[in-house]
């Protein structure tokens, strides 16, 4: 008996020591040996070698679709941007510049008709890229039989008749795009659209080779054999649903000279620890970090921080189940807006490279004609301030005639979202006496349903841009805006935002000011929403990877200019 007890104790210690050893090793494991790496020969100093131009990347999800009419997700748009090319392309400075379009288009005086010249370019099967390919692709995206989601979404209100087509009041063939001849494309707009040219770099506006698409029928773009491209790379070895594929340099691309990489190998890895292990062993050249990994590698020399253009905020619902909520009171909204510390939120809770947002339109996203950031024009608003928050809170309570308020925060169910919610709760309840916060943490789909039904008090939500203009954020809060869903309405705000795409559309300076003023009204007068943070990402990237360009909207990255330098020297 005695013996067996001793044995169990020993077993327990063994198990424990296994775990402890594993934990201890993890912390010291930042400089692992790379056993798989056999290229250990030291190159002579100063020697310039032709290096293998191959990049090895990880994706966090499969490709849902490579059909530009059907793509709706980050992976799809990212790849489409690298295998195809539209009239415009975002360049290394993230400015949309003519690509398949030869030079700037001619624009009619009323700003409604754009005429593009098409450059000499080829598809990967050797066919010429024609104006007809654009007309075909755009009309196909509006054809109800295609069931495109982004077609109506991106073209509605922009290209003439797009809205009417999606409402069934016009035929898709009546879309305002016409190939005058092989080399001339005429696009007619619904109304002047100031950001129209940046839209031309977006995936939904890519061309499609009519003969090829028609020949493949419903098999088009279902695997890499049923796909051709007109961009820097072609897709290969993709079976339609698999976890791996590669991009191969497209020799038919008109600017193939610029493209240095010969191959990009992708594998889908959904677990961050696995991805980090693949990076450590040198199999992959870049890995996205999240959660505790971001903290663990915060001081790694390979760390690359990038600021995304997605902004997260609180939506204050002013009317729930037909009754006004306490948030219908502007002072209550002001109190909550200013009642918590955003710096600690990003430093301690998120710790992933995000920055505090005292604004709605993200930083490093839109620039005026002189290159000045929209953020520099409008600055910070509704900056956290406990004293002001308290004062507004007292005033609000008095106006409502109550001493205590209970509010619900609706948020996501991920670990990070839950940590954030806890943080908000403790901060707000401390700053604002008499406030009780209840947390409701649900999966994304449920949150969207509750948002649609306007069944929440405060919602933690976010938005990423669809085109490069502040309007993509500002139109969310129009009185009849599809994403408003919180009964916010201010005629002045509506007027300013609508003017920016209406009567001021042709006057860049005035519309910029109008949107700046609207943002002030939204955040500093009405406190309609409370911005929390602009999301950042942290990645490890091998130092020999050069020239990868990250974009603020559309495809996440461009590899057109990327190259490998100094890998052999390592």
């Amino acid at each position: 008996m005695k013996k067996s007890k001793f044995f169990w104790l020993l077993s327990l210690m063994l198990v424990l020591s296994v775990f402890l050893a594993a934990c201890g090793e993890d912390k010291n494991g930042t400089e692992p040996a790379t056993p798989g790496d056999t290229d250990k020969d030291e190159p002579t100093a100063g020697e310039v070698k032709d290096e293998e131009q191959v990049l090895n990347l990880i994706m966090s999800a499969e490709i849902p679709s490579m059909d530009s009419a059907l793509a709706t997700d980050a992976v799809g748009f990212d790849l489409l941007n690298n295998v195809n090319e539209g009239l415009y392309r975002l360049n290394q400075e993230n400015v949309a510049v003519p690509a398949i379009a030869e030079g700037e288009p001619t624009v009619s005086e009323d700003g409604l008709v754009y005429t593009f010249k098409i450059r000499d370019a080829k598809w990967s099967n050797g066919d010429a890229v024609t104006a007809g390919d654009f007309e075909f692709a755009w009309k196909r995206a509006m054809n109800p039989d295609t069931a495109s989601e982004y077609g109506p979404y991106m073209m509605g209100g922009v290209i003439k008749n797009a809205t009417a087509i999606s409402e069934g009041k016009a035929k898709y063939t009546e879309l305002g795009v016409k190939a005058v001849d092989e080399k001339t494309l005429e696009v007619t707009l619904e109304k002047p659209v100031p950001y129209f040219l940046s839209l031309m770099s977006f995936g939904t506006y890519l061309p499609q080779n009519e003969a090829f698409v028609t020949e493949k029928g419903k098999d088009y773009a279902t695997n890499s054999d049923n796909l051709i491209s007109n961009g820097p790379f072609t897709l290969a070895d993709w079976d339609g649903t698999g976890l791996k594929w590669k991009l191969v340099k497209n020799d038919q691309y008109w600017d193939a000279e610029t493209v240095k990489l010969t191959e990009i190998n992708y594998d889908v890895v959904k677990e961050v620890p696995t991805a980090v292990n693949l990076y450590k062993t040198g199999e992959k050249d870049r890995v996205g970090l999240s959660g505790e990994y971001a903290m663990q590698y915060a001081n790694d020399p390979d760390l690359v921080k990038e600021l995304e253009t997605t902004v997260f905020y609180f939506k204050f619902n002013q009317e729930r189940n037909g009754k006004p909520t306490p948030l219908a009171n502007v002072n209550i909204r002001e109190a909550i807006s200013k009642g918590y510390n955003k710096q600690d939120l990003v430093d301690v809770v998120l710790a992933n490279g995000s920055v505090p947002a005292n604004y709605l339109v993200p930083a490093a996203f839109t620039f005026d004609e002189s290159g000045a950031d929209f953020r520099d024009v409008n600055g910070d608003m509704a900056v956290p301030n406990a004293d002001e928050a308290k004062a507004a809170w007292e005033k609000g309570l008095k106006e409502l005639g109550v001493k205590e308020i209970t509010l619900e925060i609706l948020g996501g169910d991920s670990d990070v979202a839950k940590k954030m919610d806890e943080y908000f709760k403790s901060q707000l309840e401390t700053t604002l006496p008499g406030l009780t916060i209840e947390l409701k943490e649900v999966p994304f789909a449920v949150r969207l349903d509750l948002d649609s039904a306007q069944d929440y008090d405060i919602q933690s939500a976010g938005w990423g841009p669809d085109f490069q203009d502040p309007y993509t954020f500002m139109n969310l809060w129009l009185t009849d805006g599809g994403n408003n869903k919180m009964s916010y309405s201010n005629p002045k705000y509506d007027e300013l935002v609508n003017a920016s795409v209406g009567k001021l559309a042709m006057d860049p300076e005035a519309r910029w000011e109008a949107m700046a003023e609207a943002e002030k009204i939204l955040l500093e007068e009405d406190y309609a929403i409370a911005p929390n943070y602009q999301r950042g990402t942290m990645q490890l990237q091998k130092p020999y990877v050069k020239g990868v360009i990250s974009h603020p909207f559309g495809g996440d990255y461009s590899y057109k200019w990327a190259f490998i330098e100094g890998k052999d020297a390592q």
Binding site: A147, E149, G240, E271, A445
Partner: protein, 310 residues
């Protein structure tokens, strides 16, 4: 025997029909839409896309259509992978899952049986404690911890096997198979030990021993065979689960298997994949259960399949 199997197959179809029906209606109560950008579209735009997929029709009508297609063997097209056929997706992803499952199962069960037998035959010795200890480890360490442990030490630190991915042929399958084997290993060892100990103390073993049978003969010819029955019972569902893929292991080793789709399809409301994977799993499970019932008869002739009316 043939009559019995025929009867069972008939019941299998009824079971599958009930599973399909229940899954279909449960799935339709899920929040969210299979239309990925539903929140960005206005109601008219959304209605147009839903009409294209037939989602605008009443649920009983959708059900009728689905069952009609199913009867013809058509599982439909995925929503998340635009235009991909569900049958295709399952077939493509089945290979890796099946290989890992089979290897894990065979490895786990054979070591498990061995450990269980050693423990039973050397009861209350260091051999017994040792094998019980391994079995307890197998049960109590979650597979993701064990998998990460294997990945970190064997692949990253020692560099003898691939870290993850499905790029090095059979080598890629070794670590995930070992990780999968821990479950069946522990189950096998525990069941065999308990049963063998019980069987070894029964009268007919004493009889066999008194007739002069050797220890080896007793252990394998008499005791082991009878100890297998409960193990075969739990093996059925275990095998079905392993062979149709493991969510956790496939994610950790980035294996292009089917297991991961079971959960992902639900997260993104991909109705056709939810139905496809559920039905596929059910077919597999009922088939394995039938197989187990047939095996009973072979292992222990005292169990008569066709009941008393033969």
């Amino acid at each position: 025997m043939a009559k019995y199997i025929l009867k069972r197959v008939f019941y299998m179809f009824i079971t599958l029909f009930l599973i399909a029906t229940a899954t279909f209606f449960l799935m339709k109560t899920l929040p969210g839409s299979p239309i990925s950008s539903a929140s960005k579209l206005n109601p008219t735009q959304l209605a147009a896309v839903e009409a294209k997929y037939g989602l605008d029709q009443p649920i009983p009508v959708q059900y009728g259509k689905y069952m009609a297609n199913l009867a013809q063997g058509d599982l439909g097209n995925s929503y998340q992978f635009k235009g991909a056929s569900v049958t295709d997706l399952i077939l493509k992803r089945l290979g890796p899952s099946f290989l890992l499952g089979a290897q894990g199962l065979i490895l786990g069960i054979s070591i498990g049986i061995l450990l269980g037998m050693i423990a039973a035959l050397r009861q209350n010795t260091i051999w017994d404690y040792g094998s019980t200890f391994i079995a307890i480890l197998g049960i109590s360490i979650p597979s993701f911890v064990f998998a990460s442990f294997l990945q970190y030490w064997i692949a990253v630190k020692w560099g003898v096997l691939p870290v993850a991915l499905w790029n090095d042929g059979w080598k890629s399958s070794i670590l995930p198979s070992i990780a999968l084997a821990m479950g069946p290993l522990a189950t096998g060892a525990r069941f065999i030990r308990t049963e063998m100990i019980e069987v070894l103390s029964s009268d007919y073993i004493t009889l066999a021993k008194s007739k002069g049978a050797t220890g080896f003969e007793v252990a394998f010819k008499h005791a082991f065979r009878n100890a297998l029955i409960p193990l075969v019972t739990v093996m059925g569902p275990l095998a079905a689960g392993l062979l149709t893929g493991s969510l956790v292991i496939e994610k950790i080793f980035a294996i292009p298997g089917i297991g991961e789709q079971f959960v992902k399809a639900i997260m993104v409301s991909d109705f056709s994949i939810i139905m496809g994977t559920t039905l596929f799993f059910s077919v597999f499970l009922v088939f394995v259960i039938l197989l187990v019932d047939i095996l009973y008869g072979i292992i222990d002739p005292r169990i008569r399949l066709s009941g008393g009316n033969s």
